[in-house]
């Protein structure tokens, strides 16, 4: 089995929702679709108050090279366009009153598309990386360097999350065809699917489906280890190539795409459906009935939680994303976006609630860091104001996976120190 050096073994907790089949979530009366659901610039509103919109109608136009279009998830009247909080900040939201008809506006399906057509279609459908980062896929599929390998990231190393696993189990054909379209867009015949060993059953199913449909996909089982799904770590595990410091994966001829992205590409190409809904895992100790839902973007998180039993008294943290890299929220008044892979409600036993103590120099973080940095020194340097010291120990290479803070026996907030260090180094004009 393949893997990468270092890393940690958090408790998976995937069994809660792993066997819950994906069901359609009933969309509420009012949805608030954020115009920034991706990395890069927010989209510019293309509708105004009072307009009637259909499902799949463009709400926001991509602004600049690194941006993506945003589409309506319901049909109805636009009641307002206003600034609201998102998981990580604020942006303009298009508030739509759902009329429940779901009239859909689709593009014409593509038959045997050329690579440029596929990339064009991906851009037209506003598909972004659905693993969490939300990088526009069309931009990713137009790399400057020559690419010879496509890896589909099905590692899903974050604890609790099972949305990718459910896709592999329930939509293997659609997923593999979508991945083949991505490969075709890059001019490739075959591709790899990287999975963690805890999804061995899904890997078997994929291999069977691939041979049935004549798709040359190779599944690669990796150790169940966090962060196996981090881009550089997965590339190393699958191809043994090391992405150089400060370079993009295409520099070593590799492109990595998420499972859900591939599924969206399938629907975009074969059915002309735009990217306005996704599979979300609702789990955690505070959720009474863990589930996997197809949720339309713009659905409030609180509505989703209410459908799963509401926020109980024992819940202390609401997370958007996984527990290692997700964002904690004070309440559920934010919308589900294209990058919301999970909604977790965690209890006090599950989360860290201890105060941080002094560093005991145990170097656990050094042994855990998948980027081979020295979090212990970066923490010490940046807290004493030594920016160049933090730079020396590689703070700019941090992927903020949280492995260091996970293993720290003194519970030091190392990831926060890393972010501080990165900010200070950038202010200073430093590089990796």
């Amino acid at each position: 089995m393949e893997t990468f050096p270092h890393g940690i073994h958090p408790k998976g907790n995937k069994e809660r929702s792993a066997n819950a089949a994906v069901s359609e979530f009933s969309t509420p009366e009012i949805v608030a679709v954020p115009l920034s659901q991706h990395a890069g610039k927010a989209a510019i509103a293309a509708v105004s108050k009072g307009d009637y919109v259909k499902v799949g109608q463009k709400l926001g136009e991509a602004d600049g090279a690194i941006s993506a279009a945003v589409f309506s998830s319901v049909s109805g009247e636009v009641t307002a366009i206003e600034k609201r909080p998102t998981a990580t900040g604020h942006c303009e939201h298009v508030i739509i009153k759902n009329d429940g008809k779901y009239d859909e506006e689709k593009l014409a399906p593509l038959k045997n598309p050329a690579p440029e057509q596929i990339v064009r279609r991906i851009a037209d459908c506003g598909i972004v990386g659905m693993g969490g980062a939300g990088f526009p896929t069309a931009v990713k599929l137009a790399p400057r360097d020559k690419v010879d390998t496509l890896i589909i990231n099905a590692a899903e190393c974050e604890p609790y999350l099972t949305c990718d696993y459910r896709i592999l189990k329930e939509y293997p054909r659609e997923f593999l065809l979508g991945a083949r379209y991505i490969a075709a867009a890059l001019g490739l015949e075959n591709f790899f699917v990287g999975l963690e060993a805890n999804k061995a059953d899904a890997a078997e199913l994929l291999e069977k489906t691939a041979s049935d449909n004549g798709i040359s996909a190779k599944t690669v089982l990796c150790h169940t280890k966090y962060p196996q799904g981090a881009e550089k770590q997965l590339i190393y595990a699958v191809t043994k190539r090391k992405v150089r410091v400060g370079k993009l994966p295409s520099n070593v001829g590799v492109i990595v795409c998420n499972v859900h992205t591939a599924l969206s590409v399938f629907y975009a190409v074969e059915e002309g459906e735009k990217s306005y809904k996704r599979i979300v895992t609702v789990s955690g100790g505070g959720v009474k009935t863990p589930a996997n839902f197809w949720i339309r973007t713009g659905t409030p998180v609180s509505t989703v939680l209410d459908a799963c039993g509401g926020i109980g008294d024992d819940a202390v943290k609401l997370l958007i994303g996984g527990p290692m890299m997700g964002f904690a929220q004070s309440n559920g008044d934010i919308s589900v976006t294209k990058t919301t892979s999970g909604i977790l409600l965690l209890t006090a036993d599950e989360v860290n609630s201890e105060q941080s103590g002094p560093c005991i120099n145990c170097a656990s973080c050094v042994k855990a860091c998948p980027m081979k940095l020295m979090p212990v020194y970066i923490d010490a340097c940046i807290l004493s104001g030594d920016v160049s010291g933090a730079e020396k120990y590689g703070a700019m290479n941090c992927i903020e996976c949280g492995s260091c803070a996970f293993v720290c026996p003194a519970r030091r907030p190392l990831v926060q120190s890393m972010r501080l260090a990165k900010k200070k180094i950038r202010e200073k004009g430093g590089k990796r």
Partner: protein, 384 residues
């Protein structure tokens, strides 16, 4: 709707690993050594351990209270002494001391009897040693206040507190292991370095077995029984408190250095060579120090290769002191010397980021040949 906690990621941690948990693990790992020390050397060791641990705890608590100028219950509760690292220091210190220490000018010792046994001195049969207990408290003061807390508390001290306290007693009070005969005594109770290379040792019966089970005299209390130390080592390795390779590297390189410095120059061969190596490795504080003191987090490097260098350095200095130096026991000095070298090691040995590559050196562009000075060409001295 109730407000939920908001904090930065990650939101989950390894719950079973805390600072206190690690310290308790070390205490558990030290327990077999303590039990064997009490069996071999008597109740004095237990008394020393209790006094050392108690005074270490009390000094740390007092230090934090005095510095905070707050003696309330809350301040006591929030004191750093509750992480139990002071107890580890205390226990390691107690196991590093002989069972009794006598200071001639004080002499608070109660003699039970003057047994008429040839070669065994009276202090071997001390019923109660007041001197030892006072020295335990003094050593704890040095370890906790001078070495640990004044440098910033846990994780910030540059030298191992227990090793420093032991060396302090050694230098200030003439601490020796000469008069601390154990109950079973097969080896002549003289100071180490002289007998390590002598004939007496290599002729002794069952040397291996006796050294292994710790049946020997002239030692600090906790360092004799190899079985107990091995149990502690295995426990710490399995619990991943220490890197299991580091003690092996120290012991292994010490054996090599023993061979190079002592065995071969003295032209030993065969069984005597092996016996000499075994005696070097298993006697003195080498194994105890390599398992419990060289793996101390704050006074050892933070990288594996740094630790290898650190370990080999400890073995080298131990053997140099033992073979060529005047002290019988080099381990604590070697640890202190290498402790001082840790910042240097850490400065130069640190991992390169994943995907790091050496930038190819840019060759300086060849500058066009500078025209010769006008006057020289004119003179015809140098011509192009």
């Amino acid at each position: 709707m109730k407000n939920l906690t908001v904090s930065a990621s990650p939101h989950v941690v390894q719950k079973n690993k805390t600072t206190r948990g690690i310290m308790l693990d070390v205490l558990i790992a030290l327990a077999p050594a303590l039990v064997m020390a009490v069996l071999y050397f008597g109740y004095h060791v237990l008394l020393n351990a209790i006094v050392c641990m108690g005074s270490c705890f009390a000094f740390e608590l007092l230090y934090t209270l005095i510095l905070k100028k707050d003696f309330s219950k809350k301040a006591v509760k929030s004191s750093s002494c509750w992480d139990c690292s002071c107890l580890v220091t205390g226990l390691i210190l107690a196991l590093n001391l002989p069972r009794v220490i006598t200071v001639k000018s004080w002499d608070f010792n109660v003699y039970r009897a003057m047994p008429n046994i040839e070669g065994v001195r009276a202090v071997d049969y001390v019923a109660f040693s007041g001197d030892t207990l006072i020295l335990c408290v003094v050593a704890s003061l040095v370890a906790i206040v001078l070495i640990k807390m004044l440098f910033g508390g846990i994780g910030k001290n540059f030298a191992n507190p227990a090793a420093t306290a032991r060396v302090f007693l050694f230098l200030a009070f003439g601490l020796t292991w000469a008069n601390t005969t154990g109950l079973g005594n097969v080896l002549p109770a003289s100071t180490g370095a002289t007998w390590l290379s002598g004939d007496k040792l290599t002729n002794a019966d069952n040397l291996f077995v006796n050294l292994f089970i710790g049946n020997r005299g002239a030692a600090a209390a906790g360092e004799t029984c190899m079985i107990a130390l091995a149990v502690g080592y295995l426990y710490l390795s399995i619990r991943k408190v220490i890197d299991f390779r580091i003690p092996l590297i120290i012991v292994g390189s010490a054996a090599v250095f023993a061979l190079l410095f002592d065995g071969l120059p003295n032209k030993l061969s065969g069984a005597r060579l092996i016996n000499n190596m075994a005696a070097h490795v298993m006697s003195g504080g080498l194994v105890f120090g390599s398992v419990f003191m060289a793996t101390d987090y704050s006074t050892s490097p933070n990288t594996f290769w740094g630790n290898v260098l650190f370990g080999v350095g400890i073995a080298l200095f131990t053997m140099l002191i033992r073979v060529f130096g005047g002290y019988p026991e080099g381990m604590s000095f070697a640890i202190l010397i290498m402790n001082a070298a840790v910042p240097l090691i850490d400065k130069f040995i640190y991992p390169r980021p994943f995907g790091y590559f050496k930038k190819p050196k840019e060759k300086p562009l060849k500058t066009p040949d500078s025209p010769l000075p006008y006057n020289e060409t004119e003179k015809g001295g140098i011509k192009a």
